[in-house]
């Protein structure tokens, strides 16, 4: 009992309160999104909102359990946990149930488990473990390669599950590496590469390559014409040109619906009558739902666009539509501010850790929540292609809620011992 009191004294209540608020708001919005006149009770377990309540209670139990666990378990068993989760992620490819083209679910009766949702905290643990090992420097090439592998292996496995969207999330861990010493140039290069890819899809390839050649020539004129500079310029030109051509090539390898999603986000496609039921339609409908909310929203249960199925996946991937429609600009802004407060708080707490392991893990948590927020809300309001990933703590689903709860509460548990241990 004494130990338990200690645990609750040491936890960061702000994070827990925000967590609770978000989970409750999520539940409320799921209720509104799939509201069923015949099953008015929010506790009705035959409905999604009833399910979500069960998930929430279970998540609370998981959270409390985690607070009781000795933190050394996380550090000692980081790799085994990583291994076990990866094992399940691979197993699901062979033994999972295929749902709309992807094999990422184990089904048990009416409930299912998605191992990939648990891959995130496992990967964060592994990365924290590896980078906090003595004498590890990210400036070393070997460290870079190993770190990259820790991130890329689960990513690759999840791609094999045909869950490209979920795999993309792992890319966010580059922020963790950056915080731990990876050169900022990597971020910059990554940013430029993304920019170039977007430009490659929007503009004519030969024009773009022509512009690149022109820019390189300008650099050549203004630079001190050392051999090294010339080589850099030529290398940059080659790499960027290859990126442009490669992007277009890769784009054509994508499935038609994926191409459409990207084109919609880039604003290349225009909405027409024929695009109903396509991804363009989905993107349009989600914007209609959000846009129709106005300043203060239509009010709880008063939304028409999500409740009446104009928006697809309104309880999972498009849950933010319900927030936008029923609570308006004020409500959506509130939720966004809640998230940014949450992320900043995690960063703040991560920075106050004496333990490197805890700090690195904390940055992992912040990065993953940030990228989920960016992609999920981005696609809802037409700024990102439709990538089916949940909004943390809001979206309907047990696996995702459990995954994020574990991710968060391991961090809260680690933080609660920040003054006791030094790792």
């Amino acid at each position: 009992m004494r130990e338990r009191e200690n645990i609750f004294q040491g936890v960061d209540w702000l994070l827990i309160v925000i967590y609770l608020v978000m989970v409750m708001l999520g539940w409320m919005n799921i209720y509104a999104a799939v509201y069923n006149e015949e099953h008015k009770s929010i506790f009705d377990t035959s409905q999604k909102y009833g399910h979500q309540l069960i998930f929430i209670i279970s998540a609370f139990l998981i959270a409390v359990t985690l607070l009781f666990i000795d933190t050394s378990i996380f550090t000692k068993f980081a790799y085994p946990i990583f291994g076990v989760v990866l094992f399940f992620c691979i197993a699901v490819i062979f033994f999972g149930t295929e749902i709309s083209g992807s094999k990422s679910w184990f089904r048990f009766g009416s409930f299912g488990v998605q191992p990939a949702e648990f891959g995130k905290f496992a990967t964060c643990l592994a990365l924290a473990k590896y980078l906090s090992t003595l004498n590890i420097r990210l400036t070393d090439l070997k460290t870079k390669i190993f770190s990259a592998l820790i991130v890329l292996v689960p990513m690759g496995i999840i791609i094999l599950e045909k869950e490209t969207g979920s795999a993309l999330v792992y890319a966010a861990l580059v922020f963790v590496l950056y915080r731990e010493g990876l050169s900022g140039n990597f971020l910059l290069l990554g940013f430029l590469a993304i920019l170039l890819m977007i430009l490659a899809l929007i503009f004519n390839t030969s024009v773009l390559v022509g512009i690149l050649v022109g820019v390189s020539f300008l650099f050549f004129i203004v630079s001190r014409k050392t051999r090294r500079n010339i080589l850099t310029i030529i290398a940059s030109l080659v790499i960027s040109s290859v990126t442009v051509l490669g992007t277009n090539f890769a784009f054509k390898q994508l499935k038609q619906y994926q191409q459409t999603r990207i084109e919609v986000a880039l604003g290349i496609l225009e909405m027409t009558k024929e695009s109903k039921k396509s991804d363009l339609w989905n993107s349009y409908q989600s914007m209609v739902a959000v846009g129709s909310g106005g300043l203060a929203g239509k009010g709880f249960l008063q939304g028409t666009q999500t409740k009446f199925d104009y928006v697809p996946e309104q309880s999972t991937d498009f849950i933010f539509c319900t927030v936008g429609e029923e609570w308006g600009f004020l409500g959506s802004t509130f939720v966004l501010l809640l998230f940014v407060t949450f992320i900043w708080r995690i960063i703040f707490i991560a920075e106050r850790q004496r333990s490197m392991f805890s700090r690195i893990y904390g940055y992992g948590v912040a990065s993953i929540i940030t990228i989920h927020l960016a992609i999920n809300v981005g696609m809802t309001i037409g700024l990102a292609p439709i990538i089916g990933i949940p909004l943390p703590f809001f979206s309907y689903g047990g696996s995702s809620l459990f995954g994020f709860t574990i991710l968060l509460f391991i961090f809260i548990r680690l933080d609660s011992e920040r003054l006791l241990v030094l790792r």
Partner: protein, 613 residues
């Protein structure tokens, strides 16, 4: 360990990236939710359906409160194909009394354009009452089907079809130009239904219904807070006397013609009958278009409303007009005697040796030379023919001839009193004289009048010089009838000049051309006429008002191809007068003769050509 960590400041970079993303999102949301209006419109237009709530059309009653038109409930069986679940087709067909083939055909129609599997469309129209109740009982067995009530017009007595008019879907042109009507709305197309459409239709309400993405109704928006209720149409009280109208239509059976009766003291139309007619119930609901085509093809043209749209030469009834004008112009006095022969433009006007009749006798005996001469004298009172003619025309127009009376029944004809321009064109400018147009004096030639105008003229005489515009509606529940029906319209003839006409018309009935219509216990006045008909036998005309003192009814009867006015027109008018004033018929033999009589045209053959009536 954190102390001295060279990368601590990078927390700001990571934090700023998260902050920037959220900031961009908030800006984007501001644009989508506050600035952009299109998305809100798009949302409403797809999630809301503005369903019209139809107002119940007003009823129409006769002057004694008897129903002329009311609404009858009808039921359409609707189907939404996508909502059909586990349908027992055999049971369904049995209940509805259709075979499987019909079922499949109708289902196919329900899913094909312009219908949709997601939208309700009519599966069976206007079910009979027993059929609809049979289906209502079993409806729970057939999800996807429902019964939708609507109203049809019902005419309990099957009379006055032309006056009441009918209701039909609005035309696309009306939808384009009107702010009120939408496709599929009903509107009055003819008769009272048309002229009182605004009062009868009421105001449609709107129900906002929420629709899901599959076009399935999801209930009313905010419990109907923004719905508007339908306002029922106003009931109308007609001036018609239903019993009298029924009787008039019976009397006109198997004859071509028209009866119009007006209450002189108010201008209220008591009878407006035309024959052949049709059962107004034929032009209701789904059977309308088929029956309409049948009626349109009928060679007797039952859709034609003779009372307002047929223009007849008024014949001898027009002599009274000359008698009045001549007195007003000082050309004749009561004692003026004129010889019973007249030669004009080298033509001898024949007569029946009346000697030298005075004014009263000339009307009583209907002396043609007397009135040709009088007409010529009226015109020649002025040095120029045109001036004389215009002066005459002014008087005639004031009696409601050659002008639209502006009644409240649509499609009224103006009749014909030719313009100066017409004669200028026909004879050449300045090349026509009184002698060119003298036949107007005895109501022949170009002059034309509708039965309504004749009845109104008769009422004017009964009133000694004024009329109220004849109208068919006397009261609008919760509304006001038009002011124009409350105004007296005076003729240009002074009241005192009507005395002699009164006297003469009384004598016409007592001992003149209409003596066969005399009623022993009712004194009344009348004037017969014959309208020359180039296509066949002459039309028989009779105008009358009764009783002689303080007249209650003025009527005009026109029977086509009936020859003498006295043969058919006089008895019919006489029977109607008796019926209206006493409520019963004593002369059953005359009644039987009129009811059984058949007077239909025999093309191209004239039975007689006498001009005496």
């Amino acid at each position: 360990m954190s102390a001295g960590n060279p990368y601590t400041d990078r927390k700001y970079v990571v934090g700023a990236i998260a902050g920037t993303i959220v900031l961009i999102f908030i800006i984007r949301l501001f644009y989508l939710q506050i600035i952009n209006e299109d998305l809100k419109i798009a949302a409403d237009s797809q999630a809301f359906r503005y369903v019209p709530v139809y107002a119940e059309r007003g009823n129409i009653f006769d002057r004694n409160g008897k129903r002329l038109v009311y609404n009858q409930a009808a039921y359409d069986l609707m189907v939404t194909p996508k909502q059909i679940k586990n349908l027992d087709t055999a049971e369904f067909c049995k209940t509805l009394g259709i075979d499987k083939e019909t079922f499949l055909k109708r289902m196919l129609k329900a899913v094909q354009k312009p219908n949709s599997p997601y939208k309700p469309s009519i599966f069976a129209k206007e079910l009979s009452v027993e059929n609809s109740s049979k289906i209502q009982e079993k409806l729970y067995l057939f999800p996807g089907f429902y019964v939708q009530p609507r109203t049809l017009r019902k005419y309990p007595m099957s009379v006055a079809a032309h006056i009441l008019g009918y209701v039909g879907e609005v035309s696309p042109e009306i939808v384009d130009t009107s702010k009120y009507y939408r496709n599929g709305d009903y509107t009055g197309i003819s008769g009272i239904e048309k002229s009182y459409e605004y009062d009868l239709r009421g105001v449609r309400g709107t129900k906002i219904v929420m629709m899901d993405v599959n076009n399935i109704e999801k209930g009313s928006y905010k419990n109907g807070e923004y719905d508007t209720l339908a306002v029922a149409g106003k009931d109308l009280v007609s001036t018609l006397d239903l019993d009298l109208q029924v009787y008039a239509e019976q009397l006109l059976k198997n004859k071509l013609g028209s009866v119009v009766a007006i209450e002189p003291s108010t201008g209220e139309i008591l009878i407006l009958a035309t024959s052949p007619t049709y059962d107004p119930n034929l032009l209701v609901g789904s059977i309308r278009s088929e029956n309409y085509m049948k009626l349109k093809k009928d060679s007797m043209n039952p859709l034609f409303n003779r009372a307002l749209m047929a223009s007849y030469p008024p014949g001898s009834t027009f002599k009274i007009v000359q008698a009045l004008i001549a007195q007003q112009e000082g050309i004749l006095t009561v004692e003026s005697r004129l010889p019973c022969n007249f030669t004009i433009a080298g033509k001898q006007i024949h007569c029946h040796n009346h000697g030298s009749p005075n004014l009263t006798e000339s009307i009583q005996k209907s002396c043609n030379p007397y009135y040709c001469r009088t007409f010529v004298n009226i015109i020649n009172k002025y040095p120029k023919t045109v001036e004389g003619y215009l002066n005459w025309k002014k008087h005639v127009n004031s009696m409601g001839f050659g002008v639209k009376l502006n009644t409240d029944i649509p499609n009224e004809l103006r009749g014909n009193i030719p313009s100066v321009e017409y004669y200028d064109k026909f004879h050449g400018k300045g090349r026509w004289k009184a002698s060119s147009i003298y036949s107007l004096g005895i109501g022949q030639g170009e002059v034309g009048a509708t039965p309504l105008q004749l009845a109104n003229y008769c009422a004017t005489i009964a009133n000694r010089g004024f009329y109220y515009i004849p109208h068919i509606i006397k009261k609008i529940e919760g509304g006001q009838i038009d002011k124009r029906f409350k105004e007296k319209h005076f003729t240009t003839i002074e009241s005192k000049y009507y005395d002699v006409v009164y006297d003469a018309m009384f004598k016409v009935v007592e001992a003149g051309t209409a003596a066969n219509g005399k009623i022993s216990f009712i004194q009344f006045c009348g004037k017969t006429g014959t309208a020359q008909n180039p296509h066949g036998d002459d039309h028989s005309l009779f105008i009358a008002f009764a009783p002689k003192d303080n007249p209650k009814i003025a009527l005009a009867v026109v029977i086509e191809n009936a020859g003498f006015g006295s043969t058919w027109g006089v008895p019919i008018a006489s029977l109607l007068i008796e019926k209206y004033l006493t409520g019963k018929i004593t002369r059953t033999a005359m009644e039987k003769q009129m009811l059984d009589g058949v007077v239909l045209p025999v093309k191209g053959k004239k039975k007689n050509s006498s001009t005496v009536d």
